[in-house]
């Protein structure tokens, strides 16, 4: 049990539980789902004790997820920092700026630009294009009809995962992501770039993660921190998200126009 949880979360949890009996039921539902998972191998043992789940944090996550599900189009600019771990455990940060332009269920452009790499992922409902603009290479492969399926296929067939894929999973009610966490706590009020948020912390498998959810009627994720507990150095990635929930989408938003000297290359499948 985390002291922080006791100090900050318990009071709020009690208050909410008293006013909303449903929350207790949700917490109870969450518990068996978490307990059914195989125990993490390398990490410290964690138990899905009901005490570790603050229903207020689960509720906030579900509320955010439901809101994300209502967004048909959105664009996000993110600022990221990802830690790499050297063999001796030393950590190095690589910063980046990503841009998402999304139209559910079948279109996105995701620009991933770090200080070390630039990639563009374009999906138009039929094909996925992986573009390396600075190298002048691109590959085009057939893709399933939805974003979710495409992300899964990209990962399983090609070993490609995109930053913050969670955005597309939280919003999928069938996945019930909120029920997968082993612990959930309310950290408290916080601001991200001047926006009032509530901060929450979760543990899920070998990953600890935190999320800052905007207060008010647009519960958007404004910041996400993900910690890999599997590696002894516990590298983390941080992303701050700047949202536009009603972006203008030109008709050719998901069309790919390679540079004149760009070369089409193949994509190795696994």
């Amino acid at each position: 049990m985390k002291p922080l949880h006791v100090a900050l979360g318990a009071g709020l949890a009690l208050t909410l539980a008293a006013t909303q009996p449903l929350l207790a039921a949700e917490a109870a539902k969450a518990k068996p789902a978490a307990a059914a998972k195989p125990a993490p191998k390398a990490a410290a043992p964690t138990t899905a004790d009901a005490d570790d789940i603050d229903p207020a944090a689960i509720t906030a996550l579900k509320r955010m997820s439901a809101y994300l599900g209502t967004l048909t189009t959105f664009s996000i600019k993110t600022e990221t920092s990802t830690q790499l771990v050297m063999d001796d455990g030393q950590k190095v940060n690589v910063d980046g700026r990503n841009r998402y332009l999304v139209r559910r269920p079948d279109g996105f452009v995701i620009d991933v630009t770090t200080d070390r790499k630039a990639r563009q992922f374009i999906y138009d409902g039929k094909s996925l294009i992986v573009n390396a603009p600075k190298l002048g290479y691109y590959a085009k492969v057939a893709a399933p009809p939805t974003i979710r399926e495409t992300l899964d296929a990209a990962y399983e067939k090609y070993g490609i995962s995109l930053p913050l894929e969670d955005l597309f999973r939280w919003s999928d009610p069938t996945l019930q992501r909120a029920n997968l966490v082993q612990s959930a706590m309310v950290v408290g009020m916080a601001t991200v770039d001047g926006v009032e948020c509530d901060q929450y912390a979760f543990r899920e498998g070998d990953v600890d993660w935190q999320i800052w959810i905007q207060r008010g009627d647009k519960p958007l994720p404004r910041k996400v921190v993900i910690v890999d507990r599997l590696d002894a150095s516990h590298p983390e990635s941080v992303a701050k998200l700047d949202w536009d929930t009603s972006p203008s989408l030109p008709s050719n938003a998901f069309a790919f126009n390679p540079a004149a000297d760009a070369k089409a290359i193949r994509m190795a499948s696994q």
């Binding site: 390396a132 590959a139 070993g159 992501r177 899920e204 910690v227 890999d228 696994q270």
Partner: protein
């Protein structure tokens, strides 16, 4: 830091007698780097919760740093949380192993290409892209410290081309007797040695 890694990588190279190219890529691919001629980066923080802890897949599939690697996805996130989110551990392990077998086979026949060039300095996305090139130090060693060689095995891969290459027949490159085809391995660009196109 770089010097330290360079030294350790060089030492590994001397012990092995030669540093092959493909193990370097394999190391990069699994986010590991302990084995073979690799060195440098061993893990990277996941960029999404769904894809989970970095290196998790590699360790699950190969039983540690020295074992079989999974794929590049592990560099940016292993499959641990994919399991949590309903993914199938067996599937993940298989995909990792498949990838490893592919590159592993190439390892066996791999021959070093010695261009004896210091590529540590580099520039954006070519010479100093840790994701594309895994680690500038390791890459420099792969090119700079390998034994002299006259040919490269078909199918072996490198992260960036040796100097003095010419474009050849569309997207191929011809570099001192060796033909390379660029391709994506995950979202990394690698150059695969091919027969003359």
């Amino acid at each position: 830091m770089l010097r330290k890694h360079r030294i350790s990588v060089m030492a590994a190279g001397m012990l092995l007698g030669a540093i092959t190219l493909t193990p370097q890529i394999a190391d990069a691919a699994r986010g590991g780097g302990r084995g073979g001629g690799g060195g440098g980066m061993r893990a990277s923080a996941p960029s999404s919760i769904s894809r989970g802890a970095g290196g998790g897949g590699a360790r699950a599939g190969g039983g540690g740093y020295g074992g079989g690697g999974a794929n590049r996805a592990n560099v940016s996130g292993g499959n641990r949380a994919a399991n949590v989110s309903g993914g199938n551990r067996g599937t993940n392990i298989n995909s990792g192993n498949r990838n490893n077998i592919n590159t592993g086979d190439r390892n066996i026949n791999n021959v070093n290409v010695n261009r004896n060039v210091n590529v540590n300095g580099g520039g954006y996305d070519h010479g100093y892209d840790w994701n594309d090139n895994y680690h500038p130090v390791a890459r420099g060693v792969a090119f700079g410290a390998a034994a002299a060689v006259t040919s490269a095995a078909i199918g072996s891969m490198i992260y960036s081309l040796p100097p003095a290459c010419s474009p050849y027949a569309g997207s191929y490159y011809y570099c001192g007797g060796v033909y390379y085809a660029p391709q994506y391995q995950g979202d990394k660009v690698v150059y695969v040695v091919v027969n003359q196109p």
